[in-house]
């Protein structure tokens, strides 16, 4: 069973705000799922290669071409306009240096 403190730690790592009264319910829910996934310890995985994606494809690369843009200027503008705050073509965030 996860403790309230562990739930707080996970939420902090995940950058999720939790209300005080939710913490116990999350501890209970997460513990029950974590209990269930322990089931995998029954499987012998010795010498098995991990399957790391949905296909057998390996690292698809392409030529880097800075002249090629997948979006036109209109789309670019729309993307930037969706930000809560920006300056020119930059997203604006609170300063992190004093």
């Amino acid at each position: 069973m996860l403790t309230k403190k562990e739930v707080e730690k996970i939420a902090e790592l995940a950058r999720l705000g939790l209300a005080e009264k939710e913490k116990e319910k999350f501890a209970e829910d997460l513990s029950s799922v974590i209990g269930y996934i322990q089931k995998l310890s029954e499987v012998n995985v010795e010498k098995v290669e991990p399957m790391t994606g949905g296909t057998d494809l390996e690292s698809i690369t392409r030529q880097d071409d800075e002249t090629k843009s997948i979006f036109d200027s209109q789309t670019r503008k729309q993307i930037l306009n969706a930000a809560p705050d920006r300056e020119d073509d930059y997203f604006k965030v609170p300063s992190i240096l004093e």
Partner: protein
């Protein structure tokens, strides 16, 4: 003539023969939506003006005697996790409530080339996380077959819209069963193509190694027509695959040539005995018609759901890190920035934005993924799950050396009632026990309605070999014909 029950092929013929216009067809669907969607809530929002305008264009082409594409002028509903440029896309989440998609998903681009008509965006579980649409931030969808019951999920709005006659077909997305399970619950056809067959560009990502877009339709023919329109390699999705789709959709395929596998692990405890009876009766019908039925074993099935609940949340926690209140969507960033300790202010933006913007199930899965990927647990959970995933895939590889397709139930139960599983997440997760292996292995799967049990639809799942989607669809069509 009831315009709300037409298949794609029927609608296409009527349009081509000028017996109906696309505008009439589209209007008939909006009329039905206005009459009944306040009870069902399949749609989050409608695109009436644009849809009628697009329909007019198709009508003009027809009146000039131009040939039209199979999907031209036919109304489609799109799950609200797929981007249509210039239109809202919410993923049924508060965090994207007012977000306008800046571009078209590749599947939308392809459907636009066919002059398909988009009538609206359908409801779903938030970020496609759920099996009932009860996790939508904007209220659940009701099953048109029985309004007291869930339509399944996460593509519940799309399945309900097709069943209710609100559209001719719909697009959904499927990460662990999200197309097939709601199709099964609502009594329509739902098809998840092979991973890589359809581009995911413009699909809001849930778990990138599992997600795939596919059609929900009235019959297998229609699902095949939509699949044909949306599949293909796409430069903007590096996991999409270049395939020479040898269709031969119309060449004869004899039932006596088909070998069907029945996995013994899928017919054990937990399966509703009435569903088992229905599926078994379809199997014996097929055997009578000459199909070869073989019992097979997929020994690692027992660990599929546990594997899924490691791989999926791990990918979820990484994918959903992008919703931070800085670039788009719901934000608790205050402007101008208050003075004071900058770092804690920035962390505050993240915590508040994500804490208020995401619903409980989304936060649960992000935390689960964060825990699984955290130092000390990564190898024990994540790497181990990737290895078991390999074993699950090998199960299928082995089985497909013996048989052409595998038959299973789509779900262990029929559509359940609201609130039945919302208190205990694990019981909700078990609704996907027969569908998740398909996504883990990357193979294609389709659910077709085969029976009614006390008035509720029963779905049968057929699983095929990688990139053998067309043959899978053809075998599904044979089964569909036999059980009619």
């Amino acid at each position: 003539m009831n315009l709300n029950k037409l298949t794609i092929k029927e609608a296409h013929k009527l349009l081509e023969g000028r017996e109906i216009t696309s505008v009439e067809l589209v209007k008939a669907h909006f009329d039905e939506i206005k009459k009944r969607d306040k009870d069902i809530h399949a749609f989050l929002f409608l695109n009436e003006e644009e849809a009628l305008e697009a329909a007019k264009k198709v009508d003009e082409r027809i009146s000039k005697g131009e040939p039209i594409e199979m999907l031209a002028g036919i109304p489609a509903a799109i799950k609200d996790i797929i981007l249509i440029g210039g239109t809202k896309v919410t993923a049924a989440s508060k965090i994207l409530e007012n977000y306008i998609a800046p571009y078209d998903a590749t599947v939308i681009k392809k459907l636009k080339e066919e002059e398909a008509i988009f009538i609206g965006k359908t409801n779903m579980d938030e970020f496609a996380m759920g099996s009932s649409t009860e996790n939508s931030a904007f209220g659940p969808t009701r099953n048109p077959v029985d309004l007291e019951r869930v339509p399944g999920g996460s593509s519940g709005g799309s399945a309900a819209a097709v069943k209710a006659g609100f559209c001719v077909y719909a697009l959904g997305s499927d990460t662990g069963g999200s197309i097939r399970q709601p199709a099964g619950f609502c009594g329509v056809v739902g098809f998840k193509p092979t991973y890589g067959a359809v581009s995911r560009h413009g699909l809001i990502a849930m778990a990138s190694s599992l997600d795939q877009i596919g059609p929900i339709a009235r019959n297998v023919d229609d699902a095949a027509a939509v699949f044909e329109a949306i599949r293909g390699k796409d430069e903007l999705d590096s996991t999409s695959v270049n395939m020479d789709w040898q269709d031969h959709w119309n060449s004869p395929l004899d039932i006596e040539e088909i070998k069907i596998g029945v996995p013994r692990e899928y017919f054990i405890h937990g399966l509703n005995p009435e569903i088992e009876k229905n599926i078994k009766s379809v199997i014996s019908k097929l055997e009578k018609e000459g199909a070869k039925i073989e019992e097979i074993s997929l020994p690692y099935s027992e660990w599929a759901l546990a594997t899924y609940y490691i791989i999926m949340p791990a990918e979820v926690s990484a994918n959903l890190a992008r919703f931070d209140g800085i670039k788009y969507g719901y934000s608790r960033m205050e402007t101008p920035f208050p003075l004071g300790n900058g770092v804690s202010k920035l962390i505050d933006v993240y915590l508040k934005t994500r804490g208020e913007g995401f619903g409980a199930e989304v936060r649960r899965r992000i935390m689960l993924g964060t825990y699984i990927l955290s130092a000390g647990y990564y190898d024990a959970y994540y790497t181990r799950a990737q290895k078991v995933r390999q074993l699950i895939k090998q199960d299928f590889d082995r089985a497909f050396k013996e048989v052409d397709v595998i038959i299973t139930p789509t779900s262990p139960t029929t559509a359940f009632k609201f609130g039945e599983k919302t208190q205990d997440p694990l019981s909700m997760y078990l609704a996907d026990i027969y569908t998740v292996s398909v996504n883990l292995a990357g193979v294609p799967g389709i659910s077709i309605p085969v029976a009614n049990e006390q008035g509720l639809p029963v779905g049968l799942q057929l699983i095929g070999k990688n990139f053998d989607d067309v043959r899978l669809l053809r075998i599904a069509k044979i089964i569909e014909t036999i059980i009619k």
